[in-house]
Point group: C2
Chain length 199, copies 2
Amino acid sequence: MANEKEKTEVRREQIARAALDVMARRGVRGLSVAALARSVGLVPSAIYRHFPSKDHVLDLVLDQLREHLLANVEAVQAERADALEALHALLRRHVKLLRENQAIPLLVFSDQIYSGRAERKTKMHAILQSYLAAVGDLIRAGQQARSIQSGVDPAVAAVLFLGLVQPAAILWHLSEGGFDVTRQAERAWRIFAKAMRRP
Amino acid sequence: MANEKEKTEVRREQIARAALDVMARRGVRGLSVAALARSVGLVPSAIYRHFPSKDHVLDLVLDQLREHLLANVEAVQAERADALEALHALLRRHVKLLRENQAIPLLVFSDQIYSGRAERKTKMHAILQSYLAAVGDLIRAGQQARSIQSGVDPAVAAVLFLGLVQPAAILWHLSEGGFDVTRQAERAWRIFAKAMRRP
DNA sequence: GTCTTTTGTGAATGTGCGTTCACAATATAG
DNA sequence: CTATATTGTGAACGCACATTCACAAAAGAC
């Protein structure tokens, strides 16, 4: 079935990638070991050469997600001096990330997280926390640089920042791709920025 | 097992209620027919006296959700003249609804919706759409009454309104109830209202 | 080249769970 | 009070699916 043998490290990446693809097409529930293997061009049992269990595949996906999110934060910090502009750029990157990995919202909200092993719930929580902390720091920096109002609580605003995209992502899935997330995020940003910007 | 026989209409309500309870405790994946039956004090097969399938239980839960959401909108329309105050009251009711039915976010985001029968996904979409439409109408009314800025797109703001709560609800679940949704919603509202209110 | 390790295969196992069905108990109608 | 409909029970069926295992093939070491 496999065209050729591959090193485990290569396969692990392929499998994590395939997991996202399968979930994007068939939903989280549709991610069976069989479907996963088929998508990579392997036989179900071969998955276990590279992962001790299906759970560990999702763990790797989550690890990659965390790295991607934090890389986005670092990138916008490096390329934008103004905090509000950095946040705006981060929002665009966030939307791009979700558009290119449509399964992410499905996974993040899935009961694979909430009913699964407690460790995974903890891991997901940690990912969100570190992202929120980074966004909060960005906002705090903006307040010190006098470009963001000092009255807003950075932690509160960071959570609201997530809210600029989250409902839109849900709508995008419910509408089978008919809802324009990019447009919604851009317009919601204007509202958000209006309240954040210092007069 | 059952203390006594009950009419189907009573049982259906009990079962729908129990479904939310079980999901709140064990997650959506933990909602087995067995767990559901046990929670009502029945034997698994008895569920099928009142519902043709487990799917139909969730359908009823969704129907009740829609009614509850729309009832909230009508209530705040009746009790508040000012649109922004009505929206604020709606937010509080929304938070209360989620706090009293902790399983709602889990269900709404679950793959029971996204990987299940297409009809349920459609139904969920319709529920969200009608809620968003109602919120949009509220905002439009506020614009005509000159209490809300005319520059904002009501549809965009309605989606953002959902974003005031949605990430908070996720965090609440991830933190095992440690995150204060009410507080977050209240403070996020101030930011939101600042951008919406007419100067 | 031979030996060892790594990767892939196909069949089999076990389990959880939705659903069905024949039968029992209770309520309702006439 | 009797007949019928409604509701509840326990056992059994079947299916989807994660996981295991003995064996095969390719890669790497020496």
